[in-house]
């Protein structure tokens, strides 16, 4: 092999592996997240909400940010997960929460798989209609089958058993928070791996140009079905976490507002880099905490105003808020700096 080729190969290999390397900011992010277990014990209830909302938004990012599917009804899978988890506990079918969580996620995944065939068909508009329709339909089902789901009153009298048989869900939400955070972290790791794999790359390609994706041999439909089902699994887990930490599930889990809020959560944080959903969840909850105290009833107005403003001002410009952060990130990444220096030195040699 010529030296030119081998230098290209080295650079190619470097850039590809740089995609998966952990950035210092990422490490800090997770250290801070886990430090919250000890740092702010009084805020664990809201942090629990942030954790499952972040997971839910992460799941939406997988289909919107990576595969380019717009959904107006992602709450459908969240809701299935929530009801399955609550029902399993209430009827003491599966008492151990982690196992129940898995089953709830799989149930949501099954619904995702079946509906993915409808979502695949047609245009963005059809996708909007189907996703919205599926969520509404599931809500109506839960409403009609009151004997099972408690109808409009919600599913009450759910008692959660200790996690792994060891850790009780305490009323301050300490164990609940740790539980959600660990689940979020594990699923995040999987998603991160997935996003950087050839599979993840093929999703971005499909989002960019499905015509060309098919022309280089990517089975577009199959990939979309797979990612839609995986996203449904994630959303189902998020819903199940909600049900398990609150011992409750109601029709509200399927609501349109939930799907729409979720879009906002993801948009605030930014799509297509996995952290968007998590950061969005933090900002959204803080905002909700603040604004809904001011005007509880008109909270949706502010959500709407924010969405409109974000689109009109331009999402690029708004997500530019993290420019200083990115700058810091570049500085912090000492390995990148070292590599750049090495490259410069090599260039001088020549």
């Amino acid at each position: 092999m010529s030296s030119a080729t081998s230098s290209i190969l080295r650079r190619a290999s470097d850039s590809l592996s740089a995609r998966v390397r952990w950035h210092p900011l990422e490490i800090i992010f997770w250290i801070v997240a886990f430090a919250m277990i000890w740092l702010m014990p009084t805020r664990h209830l809201i942090m629990t909400e942030i954790a499952w909302l972040g997971l839910f938004a992460l799941s939406l990012d997988l289909i919107v940010g990576y595969a380019g599917i717009i959904s107006l009804g992602h709450a459908a899978f969240f809701g299935v997960g929530a009801y399955v988890a609550a029902l399993l506990a209430k009827h003491e079918l599966i008492n151990e929460p982690v196992l129940a969580l898995l089953v709830a996620g799989l149930a949501a995944m099954a619904v995702g798989f079946v509906t993915s065939f409808l979502v695949l068909r047609g245009t963005d508009l059809t996708r909007l209609m189907v996703s919205l329709g599926v969520a509404l339909m599931l809500r109506e089902l839960a409403n009609q089958f009151g004997w099972l789901t408690g109808g409009a009153d919600g599913l009450q009298g759910v008692v959660m058993q200790p996690i792994l048989g060891l850790f009780r869900f305490d009323m301050f939400g300490h164990n609940g928070f740790v539980y959600c955070l660990v689940v979020l972290f594990v699923l995040f790791l999987v998603a991160r791996r997935l996003a950087n794999s050839p599979f993840g790359l093929s999703l971005v390609a499909i989002k960019n140009n499905p015509l060309r994706a098919a022309a280089i041999g990517i089975p577009v439909d199959q990939r979309l079905i797979v990612i839609y089902s995986i996203a449904a699994f994630y959303a189902g887990i998020a819903g199940a976490l909600l049900a398990q930490t609150t011992s409750f599930a109601s029709l509200d889990v399927f609501s349109f507002d939930r799907s729409a809020d979720l879009l906002l959560v993801l948009i605030i944080g930014g799509t297509g880099y996995l952290y968007g959903g998590l950061i969005g969840a933090i900002l959204f909850k803080l905002m909700q905490d603040y604004l809904s105290v001011l005007t509880p009833q008109y909270w949706p107005f502010w959500i709407g105003a924010l969405l409109v403003a974000m689109v009109l001002i331009g999402r690029d410009r708004i997500t530019a808020w993290n420019a200083p952060l990115r700058h810091l990130a570049a500085k912090l990444d000492w390995r990148a700096t070292r590599r750049a220096a090495a490259a410069a030195a090599a260039a001088e040699d020549r």
Binding site: G200, A215, I216
Partner: protein, 250 residues
């Protein structure tokens, strides 16, 4: 001689317009075959039918003797037939490195691999680098495709197809929009293809066509008009009439 590609009575109608009219084309294995014809003759439509982007109204398509008329686009690629596009169809958010890497890993059946990091196999990396080098894309391999200059994008357009290691390659005006002095890179890469790769080339530039083709088919109004060796086609008065007629309109 064995046939790489064959169509039987292929028809494509768009409403009242017949874009492909009863085309029965044969392309031999290893051929350097050019498809020419005036604007709107239905050349791109024919490629769309061959590659599965559009379904024919009637007729059959055979690839190396197997009927592929009902196969999806990606299945045809897996059987070794790959196309390029007249108008660039690229992945704006990906870099050339990622684009080529994707094509290579798909061909190696890693597309569903969600655990391995993209580009962690040595053999694949070698292949990716060699394509990048051959197409002069190494210097821009980490730039977003959307911001590349047109010439580089055009190279990438051809490079992705070749990264799929086709046995049958359909090129739709590969040099379209590329200035005269940058064309040689594209033409050289096509000339450098292994002899056993079958190439069907659409091109308006007659210099390119005659320097490349061993056989030429002329398409007019969706139908095959004349077919033959380059010299015969060049001398054919009917072909001249079609092209002159077209020029007279312009």
């Amino acid at each position: 001689m064995a046939l790489a590609l064959q169509t039987k009575g292929l028809v494509k109608k768009f409403g009242g317009l017949t874009a492909t009219n009863d085309v029965s084309l044969t392309v031999e294995k290893g051929a350097r075959h050019a498809l020419i014809g005036p604007n709107g003759a239905g050349k791109t439509t024919l490629i769309n039918l061959l590659s599965g982007v559009q379904k024919p109204t009637a007729g059959r398509i055979l690839l190396e003797g197997d009927d592929i008329t009902g196969l999806s686009q990606h299945a045809r690629v897996r059987r070794g037939m790959v196309r390029t596009f007249q108008i660039n169809q690229l992945f704006g958010d990906l870099t050339p490195l990622e684009t080529i890497g994707l094509a290579v890993s798909e061909r190696n059946g890693l597309g569903m691999d969600w655990w391995r990091v993209a580009g962690s196999k040595r053999a694949l990396l070698e292949e990716i680098s060699s394509v990048l080098e051959r197409f002069h894309l190494a210097d821009v391999m980490n730039e977003r495709t959307a911001i590349l200059p047109y010439g580089k994008q055009r190279l990438l357009e051809i490079a992705v197809a070749i990264a799929c290691q086709p046995r049958v390659l359909l090129l739709d005006e590969p040099a379209a929009g590329v200035p005269e002095d940058e064309r040689h890179e594209i033409l050289a890469s096509i000339a450098a293809l292994p002899a056993d790769v079958t190439v069907l080339l659409i091109e308006h530039d007659m210099d390119i066509v005659f320097s490349f083709a061993q056989k030429i088919s002329v398409l007019v109004n969706g139908g095959l008009f004349v077919e033959g060796l380059p010299d015969d086609v060049a001398r054919d008065p009917r072909v001249k009439a079609v092209y002159l007629g077209e020029e007279a309109h312009v």
